[in-house]
Amino acid sequence: MKNPALSINRLLKSYGKLRALKEISLEVNRGELFGLIGPDGAGKTSLIRILATLLLPDGGSAEVLGHDVIREYKVIRNKMGYMPGRFSLYQDLTILENLELFASIYETTVEKNYHLIKDIYAQIEPFKDRKAGQLSGGMKQKLALSCAMIHEPEILFLDEPTTGVDPVSRNEFWEMLKKLREKGITIIVSTPYMDEANLCDRVALIQDGAIMSVDTPEAVVETFPTFLYAIKSSDKYLLLQDLRDYPNVNSVFAFGEYLHYTDKRKELPEDELRQYLEEHKHRELEIKRIEPGIEDCFMAFMEKEN
């Protein structure tokens, strides 16, 4: 029997005129590390809150672990762990006090479920008497995750856990998520950072309340419709201008030290472009074909939707 962790059917949510979710349908399997990838305002938080039984949808249905998010919200609340977008623990309580409080709320103890959070909590345990308000971003995040895990949830909802956290802590956080997945917990995580998509089993790319694509990161990348080229020269600003004026240009975006370029023709005659750019006095020119990343795909989907 197929028993999905999440089953979402034509879910709708509006705030006045703004349609935050436009009939979203989605299925997530048990044990998956599933990413909701999209910028602010895409609808990620609304979706997670509906799934976490904190918001009522305006239409459609959703089941978490086979339970309806409206009628059976109490059952779901017992089985899920939830970490909201901003740090939502008691800043005037210490690390240990926060953890013990949440253990008590779920009628368990820190000792009993210590094995679940050991990997994460051990990193902040030396500071357990420090107040939560005085912790760094990375430490707050570890504490919040520990609190969300302390009752052995079957499914974890994490709303933008890595936003505003330094890159090092972000890496560490994803390592922790991978370990949790090995314990069989289903993890739903949202993020605005496209590069984090590659760390998920499957991802949904969300923009303007609609899902543009759902697949494994590898498969999403394979759907990229054309060849992608990375181009670099000594003056990036002029290069951008000149590429935009190039007659066969399809898209050109700044991407780190390179520009990512696609041509209207699938395969770019590199020499022709090189000649064009050299005529425009670009020096130290570099043109190479590269594999697209999730962010390239995201932008390609966005262009297609418009």
Binding site: R49, A52, T53, L54, L55, L56, Y73, K74, R77, N78, M80, Y82, P84, R86, F87, S88, L89, Y90, Q91, D92, L93, E97, E100, L101, F102, S104, I105, Y106, E107, C147
Partner: protein, 367 residues
């Protein structure tokens, strides 16, 4: 149960770790009672008075001696004529003048009744009231002393307030103050503390947990109930030992009624918090919606019977009004529950109403 206790413990942590909360909780009642108390009572000891004894007989001399030895009054001046009174009051040093009519002893002995006039400078109405009360008490005492004969003797003190004739009892300030402080601490602090959980986002995590709304609310109520009760006791003790405000009736009954009033205020605070999202909004509603009506319309400052009829009707919806009546009855009149069971029922009704509304309004989701 463990869940509940852990939650109560957490509330105490919040309270004791926030200096501002602590100051409001314990500093404010003390400061308020001292302010109110001294504004009213700092001249009670050795108040300067004058006496116009037109009788100068053996009984009037005894009465004057009694007044002098009471310790409350300094007899600054003995007058000979009524016209001097006006002059003294205008100078402002004398707060009270005792006028003993002619043939004081004679009237008492023959007609078994006589008059004494007490004239007070009521520019400071509270002081005037206190002085009158003290003087009246001494006169009553004196009356009891001389009342050894077969026929009862009555001295009828005739009180005239100069400059501000309609005065009310001074001791009202303690029942009123208890009411205001309990209202403030209970309603305002709970509404702010719940609004804070919404504001910083912790409410979102609590909602996502299996914690029942009722448990969250109850756990908020318990610490504030205890602290408010301590406050009430502190005020009563200060009232009694610093300012001599009596508790003539049953103390346990007074404390029980206080708990009822605290519960009412707490449920009102919770009701406020269910309709506000931020601490600032909760504070504003508590101050504008609760404090002002409580102070202005409860009869604490302005006598209800002097209000326009429309305001008199509105005052019935101010819970504090009913508690002030109850507290006044117990503390000053010394009467029992049979005299104010109706007021008690009104408070019970308010409490049930607020709790029901809160439960109905409390959201199990974010929006």
């Amino acid at each position: 149960m463990n869940r509940f206790l852990a939650f109560v413990k957490k509330e105490f942590y919040h309270i004791f770790r926030d200096r501002r909360t602590l100051v409001i909780l314990f500093g404010m009642p003390v400061v308020q009672i001292l302010l109110f108390g001294y504004a009213i009572t700092n001249e009670i000891k050795d108040a300067r008075i004058a006496i116009l004894d037109k009788s100068k007989d053996h009984l009037s001399v005894r009465l004057i001696e009694k007044i002098r030895s009471s310790g409350y009054f300094l007899i600054e001046d003995y007058l000979n004529q009524e016209v001097e009174i006006e002059k003294l009051f205008k100078e402002g040093t004398i707060k009270l003048v005792l006028v003993i009519d002619e043939s004081f002893a004679q009237n008492l002995e023959k007609q078994h009744a006589t008059n004494i006039q007490l004239l007070a400078d009521a520019t400071d109405p509270n002081t005037a009231n206190t002085l009158i009360n003290y003087a009246t008490a001494i006169i009553r005492n004196f009356q009891a002393e001389i009342n050894s004969g077969t026929l009862p003797l009555t001295i009828i003190p005739e009180v005239r307030m100069r400059y501000n004739p309609n005065l009310r009892s001074v001791f009202l300030f303690v029942p009123g103050l208890i009411t205001i402080i309990l209202m403030l601490v209970s309603a305002m602090m709970t509404s702010i503390s719940i609004a804070r959980e919404k504001e910083v986002g912790t409410m979102e995590v609590l909602l996502a947990s299996p914690m029942q709304p009722g448990q969250v609310i109850l756990a908020k109520v318990v610490p504030y109930l205890m602290l408010s009760f301590i406050n009430a006791v502190v005020i009563l003790i200060m009232g009694k030992f610093i300012f001599g405000v009596p508790i003539n009736g049953s103390l346990p009954l007074l404390l029980l009624e206080s708990i009822l009033f605290i519960l009412m205020a707490l449920s009102l605070g919770i009701l406020i918090s269910t309709v506000t999202q931020s601490q600032q909004a909760a504070l504003l509603i508590s101050l504008m919606g609760l404090m002002l009506p409580t102070i202005l319309l409860s009869g604490f400052i302005f006598p209800i019977e002097n209000m326009p009829p429309a305001l008199q009707v509105i005052s019935n919806f101010i819970p504090a009004k009913w508690f002030i009546i109850i507290a006044k009855s117990i503390m000053l009149k010394g009467v029992g529950i049979t005299y104010f069971w109706q007021e008690t029922l009104v408070l019970v009704g308010f409490t049930i109403l607020f709790v029901a509304l809160s439960i109905k309004k409390f959201k199990i989701r974010l929006a």
